[in-house]
Subunit: 366 residues, 2 copies
């Protein structure tokens, strides 16, 4: 049963993750590293965090109570967030609670270079939506340094300094199709990742989804070959994608019914959950006889990733489903209720965070 | 005789210039455009300025006393300047005297991205050397706005905004070999060229040597396809290279005796001139019989480009050389004297400009 919780879902994605571990220099997030990290959160305990880079360095810093930092970025072009963003925030929160200094950057230069969103518009969106949403998802605004890329002269200068440290062929090997906007964005992101080390080298952890691994790769390449600042190789955690409610491997923005947006109308979020693909059998009789297949169930995956905090409770659901005791109707009703509650909670917290946005610790002098 | 003064030297370079006119969309700087420009300076009168882009727009602005700007850049990596830089300054000075608002940027981001020179070092070099040297060469410091690329947030933001307006293939077509540092530098330069138009569109002229034409091409491509700011296509003047004293087409830094540095020890500058390749015949007898060949004479070219302001005086030298009346010894002695005087004058002015560098009009708020 524990085994199931370790990796109860998906067959296609697992291959992606294994490939990532094999090809991109990502280490598996296993019990060994898990043991070194105090009070692991839900995502870590259930290995939704599936990989990492140099996380031992962060574990050591936590153990020795020595200085380390956490960094994540907000892309202010998206009109909504999704459950995947929540995982990033929870990982930041976790490391913050273990003593790390958290930085959240607004990637306004990237939005300008790759999406043609003006810096003013990016700032408006970030202040009205993305930053309060991150706070509503659990970020401690008092302990977090926010900054806008465009206002961080150190980051901007570093991007130029790093520009000769990777060849265009290396960019292409990491990113595939390239244009000048992407190149400038990547260099700026590399600078963001290293910015927490600019006063003195220290471990930095960047919690990301697998789609962000190229940036880590590019950044770590720069650190390896450019010794001037004695940067420490940045660490990363990689968490899985939140799957599509229709059973596909990844949420798709083109199918809004396949994923839960943040924010979302609680009723609509509930309905989406009710329509999710489950691991149920064709008939109730069959389900009772063979048991359900929680490994294939989107509801179970969303429990695991998001809605059920208590491991024993999750195990119990797994057991009851497997045994045929729990039918999809009952299960979906609970999921619907939990999802509505999650969304309602978010909406409340978001409202409050938005009204306090002017009290945030936004760095403006560099 | 006039014809000779119009283009008395070089056969190889002339091809380069003609090719530029043919291939790079550069118009010949001819009598027609010359006539439209009041009080043309030495370089214009003698067509050392050999090409232009949209200079009619600047001529109109001068005529109508309407607003226009001039822009040039200082690359703070070079340890010395040379006579070619003086031509840029004289062109800026000319347009400044005709009512243009002059901007001189220090390309510290380019020095960082392409030469690994830190911003601090670039600033130190620019303040101690390049800026006072430009003033010593004739720039009116009271009328000129200086800025450092790295401190100009508008320029930096525009570079990101322009980054998607040219494809990498277009970059490659214009610049040949590319790397990310060059791409960022080019985008920053495009932003520099358009910066004087950011408050309102107006004509801007950029006096450059032929080697800078790719930047103009890239910038004008961006303006043509990106209409948001209603930028006016920037204008340019192109002047010839200062030839190598040994008769080669272009000064070469690897052969310090082949060119006059700025600054330079006056005695050494004088000696270099004495060793220059002339258009003299093999023997005095031959010279008297056939006359000299000022078209091939580096001394005459330096007179024309730099040392002799008065056209009649230059014509008279040309006539006396052609007729065999003027021998190379006499001519070189004069050139040596004039060059020494030029260098001594520069050194004095440079000293004064350096002691006044803190009074410069350096833009620091954007």
């Amino acid at each position: 049963m524990k085994k199931a919780i370790i990796d109860p879902w998906g067959t296609v994605l697992i291959e992606d993750y294994q490939r990532a571990i094999k090809e991109f220099g990502i280490s598996p997030f296993d019990k060994k590293i898990l043991k070194k990290l105090p009070n692991p959160n839900r995502l870590m305990r259930r290995l939704v965090v599936f990989g990492h880079q140099d996380l031992g360095r962060i574990a050591d810093a936590i153990k020795n109570k020595s200085d380390f930092a956490i960094l994540t970025g907000i892309m202010p072009s998206a009109e909504k967030l999704h459950l995947g963003n929540r995982m990033v925030v929870e990982m930041v929160q976790y490391f913050q609670e273990q003593g790390g200094e958290a930085y959240v950057l607004v990637a306004d230069l990237e939005a300008l270079a790759t999406r043609d969103i003006s810096l003013e518009e990016a700032e408006r969106r970030a202040m009205n939506f993305h930053i309060p949403a991150y706070v509503a998802l659990g970020l401690d605004p008092k302990k977090t340094h926010f900054y806008f890329q465009s206002k961080n002269k150190i980051v901007r200068d570093l991007a130029y300094e790093f520009s000769t440290k990777l060849t265009l062929n290396e960019f292409r090997a990491i990113y595939g199709n390239l244009d000048a906007g992407k190149i400038m964005s990547v260099l700026t992101q590399i600078a963001d990742i290293l910015y927490p080390q600019i006063k003195k080298p220290r471990p930095v952890v960047v919690p990301v989804g697998l789609d962000q691994s190229p940036h880590m790769r590019a950044c770590r390449d720069v650190v390896r070959r450019y010794k001037k600042y004695n940067f420490i190789l940045p660490s990363a955690t990689y968490h899985k994608f939140t799957p599509s409610l229709d059973g596909n491997t990844k949420m798709s923005k083109s199918k809004p019914n396949s994923y839960i947006s943040i924010p979302e109308d609680p009723e609509i979020a509930g309905k989406k959950v009710l329509n999710a693909v489950t691991g149920g059998r064709k008939t109730i009789e069959e389900q009772k006889r063979l048991g359900g297949e929680p490994e294939k169930c989107m509801i179970f995956e969303i429990y695991k990733q998001h809605l059920i905090e208590n491991d024993k409770e999750l195990d119990e659901i797994y057991r009851r489903c497997k045994s045929g005791e729990l039918l999809c109707g009952e299960d979906k009703a609970r999921a619907c209720k939990l999802m509505k509650k999650f969304i309602e909670d978010f909406n409340k917290k978001f409202k409050k965070a938005r009204s306090n946005v002017d009290k945030l610790n936004i760095i403006s002098h560099f």
